[in-house]
């Protein structure tokens, strides 16, 4: 019944991301090296929604940055779709807690920016941005500038912008952390609805346990300084899920408790 996944999943499933014996160190402001990640390995099957949780400083964002090709590991390797990651890939979408919208561009032109970088012709860009603005419910705000939009709307535009480039892998670094509780629930539900249709591989970093359990197929709990894997928990809740409702499900509560205890155990082990 203890659904801790084996590190190598069933042979049949295609591996989208393989993090292999990755270690990483930073230099502290005082100039001393600090081990941020210590021999971390895990595989992510294609189409899986994986959440990484842990206290700040556990290196979860570093893993995300390595997968994005923004950081190179000191030791070990990160293999995405069979290719070792060496630099930013145009097939990876990255979302941050802050929306990073260009303030001088309308919502529509912000959604199109990734396509513009890829040289997609204007007619096709318009068609794509229309579709994604509609998907996130902002079709009537297409010509609004970021300052005219609420926080939740801006993050919706950021979701549309990330999805518009049609990435095969989504990297999300606390994408809903800057939102108020109600907006957060709405956006989680909306994102889940979109994701459940397309089932892209997602690597989702959060420190919000409820968010991790409500959204993900699997939660990896990490210890901090150095970052190690404390537990790997399968979230076998039925889909489609509604994050606002599933919070009151018994099995959800049980799983949340397991994640929470793993997190506690990781802290005590230090």
């Amino acid at each position: 019944m203890d659904a801790i996944l084996p590190l190598v999943p069933k042979a049949k499933t295609e591996i989208a991301l393989r993090v292999q014996s990755v270690s990483h160190a930073f230099e502290t402001p005082e100039g001393k090296p600090m081990l941020a990640l210590d021999d971390v390995s895990f595989d992510v099957p294609r189409g899986q929604f994986l959440a990484l949780v842990g206290a700040s400083g556990c290196g979860k964002t570093t893993i995300l940055n390595m997968t994005a090709g923004l950081v190179q590991p000191v030791a070990g390797s990160v293999v995405l779709n069979g290719q070792p990651v060496q630099g930013p890939s145009r097939n990876t979408g990255y979302m941050f807690a802050r929306d990073g919208l260009l303030p001088w561009r309308s919502a529509r032109r912000n959604v199109e920016v990734g396509l513009e970088l890829r040289g997609v012709p204007a007619a096709e860009r318009t068609e794509t941005s229309t579709r994604f603005l509609e998907m996130v419910g902002l079709d009537s705000f297409a010509y609004a500038y970021p300052r005219q939009l609420s926080q939740g709307m801006r993050q919706r535009v950021a979701i549309a912008r990330t999805l518009a480039i049609n990435p095969d892998t989504l990297l999300m670094d606390e994408p809903f952390a800057a939102l108020d509780a109600q907006t957060k629930l709405n956006l989680q539900a909306e994102f889940l609805r979109i994701w459940e249709k397309e089932r892209k591989t997602v690597l989702f970093v959060t420190h919000d346990l409820a968010e991790a359990v409500a959204l993900a197929d699997r939660v990896i709990v990490m210890t901090s300084r150095p970052g190690r894997i404390q537990a790997d928990i399968e979230i076998d809740l039925p889909r489609p899920r509604d994050p606002a409702v599933i919070r009151f499900n018994h099995h959800f509560l049980r799983l949340s408790e397991r994640v929470w205890q793993a997190l506690k155990a990781g802290e005590n082990a230090r």
């Binding site: 990255y94 990073g100 500038y145």
Partner: protein, 282 residues
């Protein structure tokens, strides 16, 4: 479920809202009128005191002139048209100097931010040139470029160039790191980052520089004309000063103030149109 409540009361609430909005707009209009009346009052009091001072002999009109004499001077000059060629020359010199200075300044700022080698090598030279009081170069420019318009343009360029260069650099440097990180993660190359993030992001700072630059261009041109020129409002000022005609001097200064206001207004209008996304430029 909760929305149906609002439709019941909406009639009276909307009325009350409209009423309070009208009330608010009315009180704002009243305030605007009052501000303008007070401004006119301050101006009239100042001019009246001045006129009264000279009329009663408390102020010597030979040194201080008087509002009525300045008004008469401007009226005559504008009517018979003798001032217009000078206005055109000063305006042309200022605009050409501003345009060249702004274009080269923005280009230099961009180049220096893009190529750190250019920045490091040029730093000491540009710093020395920038701290140098450029007005001190005016006689040199007149020797080099002659008493005609080009020496005034050169002086204006020497001031505007640095203002625009420094503002462009500050604008690029102050850019939100988050935007660059996001765009990089979206797959932007260095060139794309420059054209799609850094340059548009620096435009507000460039406009700040242009507002300042246009006023400094006028300043440089007038100083140049006062030193040596055949035409221009600065030349007129020197002429009236030399012939002790206070009303001509002050009248010309007033015309210069109008030109400065006009130039500033044009930049602000362009900025307002181009920077609509900011919404708060005034």
């Amino acid at each position: 479920m909760t929305m149906s409540v609002s439709t019941h009361v909406s009639g009276s609430i909307l009325d009350a809202l409209a009423k309070s909005r009208d009330e608010h707009a009315r009180s704002r209009r009243r305030r605007t009128v009052r501000v303008w009346l007070l401004r006119a009052g301050v101006l009239l009091a100042f001019l009246g005191l001045w006129e009264w001072g000279t009329a009663t002999g408390r102020l010597d009109p030979f040194f201080f002139s008087q509002p009525s004499a300045i008004g008469q001077f401007l009226f005559d000059e504008l009517r018979e048209g003798s001032i217009w060629p000078h206005i055109f020359v000063t305006l042309r010199e200022s605009l050409v100097g501003f345009a060249i200075g702004a274009a080269t300044g923005v280009t230099a700022g961009i180049l220096r931010m893009q190529y750190s080698l250019v920045a490091d090598v040029s730093n000491p030279f540009l710093t020395i040139l920038n701290v140098l009081p450029r007005v001190a170069l005016a006689p040199m420019f007149i020797i080099w470029f002659g008493v005609g318009e080009s020496s005034k343009v050169a002086l204006a360029v020497s001031l505007v160039f640095f203002i625009l260069m420094l503002n462009t650099e500050a604008g690029i440097r102050a850019l939100d790191r988050e935007l660059i990180l996001t765009m990089r993660a979206l797959g932007a190359t260095n060139r794309q980052l420059f054209w799609k993030v850094m340059l548009p992001g620096a435009v507000p700072a460039m406009f700040g520089g242009m507002r300042l630059g246009v006023v400094y261009a006028l300043l440089a041109v007038v100083v140049g004309e006062m030193i040596a020129a055949r035409m221009g409002l600065g030349q007129r000022i020197s002429f009236y000063a030399a012939s002790f005609r206070a009303e001509g001097l002050l009248g010309t200064v007033l015309v210069l103030a109008m030109i400065g206001l006009l130039l500033n207004f044009v930049v602000v209008r362009v900025e307002h149109v181009l920077l609509k996304w900011k919404g708060d430029t005034a």
